[in-house]
Symmetry: C2
Subunit: 325 residues, 2 copies
């Protein structure tokens, strides 16, 4: 018997191409260090040609959360578009090997599977250049009662709004999800993404999104606030559940008058901060789906984020929970 799906992720299915570079190369490429840039195929070829030898692994923000959720022992499913090419095969293999149910077959035609060229400078900072490829062809037609099923929670990412049919397909996912009794969670992706789509995100948060996952920059950008106190005050007028991560300041959970603060955990050796937010979302939603109290959701989110920054790679490894508590 198949375990009922707890989490369904809908997001950009991306393979990361990682390489170590120096600051001079980033400058020569004309890229702002630490930024996430959307690039076209021509620019992708240009950047790839300038990069040194690389390592490839499955990535994507919400896809990382879904993989982490599965590795915590949760039952997860995924909707994202890859092409039937080698990167698409890699992406689906990696998800399936964790027990994630892939809901869409790889596309026989169209753009190739998405890749993000991740440039890592000696200070550990990552600059991302993402060619969305096949992701951009994810369509509202791919979102149906059959592909959604009956998950406890659907996790969307802000980046999906960058797709031509992103607003339509997320709206459809929210409607079908609610009709099936699912809660809707939205990860705000990054502050530039929020800047690009603020009106749509405000609308979604007011109409259908139940849980908002964000870091400080993202929530400031969404609410147009400029301090944490102002943000907390603004959040009180919302009915949604907000989980706000604050790096070394821990995280804060807000739901109406409820305010829960969770301190950061001790970090023995910081290896790579990539995926901290995605791991937090995985832990938070795993606890939430298992009906833990909110304080415990925050604590498990923090535990997962703390683990992932002390390892290479953005996904929580299997068995992470063995060390919990």
């Amino acid at each position: 018997m198949t375990k009922a799906t707890q989490l369904l992720g809908i997001s950009n299915a991306i393979v990361d191409i990682l390489a170590h570079v120096d600051h001079a190369l980033i400058e020569k490429m004309g890229i702002v260090p630490g930024s996430m840039n959307l690039i076209d195929e021509r620019r992708a070829s240009e950047i790839y040609a300038m990069m040194g030898p690389a390592t490839e692994m499955s990535g994507g923000s919400v896809a990382n959360s879904v993989a982490g959720f599965a590795n915590l022992g949760g039952s997860a499913a995924y909707i994202g578009r890859v092409k039937a090419d080698q990167f698409g095969e890699i992406f689906n293999h990696d998800m399936r090997s964790l027990g994630v149910d892939i809901r869409l077959a790889p596309a026989a035609d169209g753009a190739p599977t998405a890749r993000s060229h991740v440039l890592i400078t000696p200070d550990g900072q990552r600059t991302m250049n993402t060619y969305l490829g096949a992701c951009t062809e994810l369509s509202a037609h791919d979102i149906t009662a059959a592909t959604i099923g009956t998950p406890q929670v659907i996790l969307l990412e802000g980046y999906v709004w960058d797709l031509p049919e992103g607003p339509a397909l997320t709206r459809k996912a929210i409607e079908i999800g609610h009709a099936q009794g699912a809660a809707i969670a939205l990860s705000l992706s990054d502050s530039f993404c929020v800047e690009r789509h603020r009106a749509s995100f405000v609308d979604a948060v007011g109409n259908g999104v139940d849980i908002v996952l964000a870091d400080e920059d993202e929530i400031y950008q969404l609410l147009q606030t400029d301090s944490f106190d102002a943000t907390l005050a603004a959040l009180k007028s919302y009915a949604n559940l907000f989980a706000i991560t604050r790096s070394e300041l821990g995280s804060v959970i807000v739901q109406g008058d409820t305010l829960i603060t969770q301190a950061a955990h001790k970090v023995d050796a910081l290896v790579d901060t990539t995926g901290a937010g995605d791991a937090y979302s995985a832990g938070f939603l795993f606890a939430w789906a298992n009906r833990y109290p909110l304080a415990e959701c925050a604590r498990l989110g923090t535990f997962c984020a703390t683990r992932v920054i002390q390892q290479l790679g953005a996904r929580i490894e299997p068995g992470a929970l063995l060390n919990y508590r």
Copy 2:
């Protein structure tokens, strides 16, 4: 002006697919832990389906040596067959980004680019399952005066003898190379490979190969000796230059009556022994091509091997020589 090519590698062009697994899975797959197995496409699919999430990076024994040689500052070229697919693109990109001159265009048809499924157990041991794919279609027709050019040294690997046209194409490479004034080096790959092709290797060493690169197991298997002393005695009757690596016992260079012993260097933190032999070959041949004395060739080989086992990944990083001496 293009710098004259110092090293030309001819070998299997392989992308490594690496995943951490436990011993139980290796057993379930029916594989001998630590072995290098040649597998067909069906078995490759089977093993890949049983593997967890993986990381992909360019690999292949002599290809690693060629990449390392380039990273030491040497001028290198490469002959190996990849298909015009995403793994082929990755392989060529990674080589070219180091300045390696790729002599064959990716094949438009035939088998897909080769991949080696590398299973890493918690003790750090690697078990390799290699689907040779496009490599097997490397042909004697690909070896011409034009693709060989005029390198100082041509590096062949024993694994090439596993290809249908391997014996013919290596023979052709030796003949063209010698006619162009190149020295021929042969890396013996692994002891099982030597077992498979011993007669051919003995013939090649007697007819055309100038430099033999091997570890103890490989040279014992080639000479059918069972002790290091017996091996040294047997080597005296050969005219070839032998570089024999002995792990923590360092390495020994033998050429007729000349015997040079090089102690191992201190290892601060062993990370991953993969690629130690390939890195040794890179350093040894770089020094040799630059006409360093033999003792210095051994010392640079050891330096490179010592570096590569203290990092993740089998290829020497750029700028490694900055820390030499």
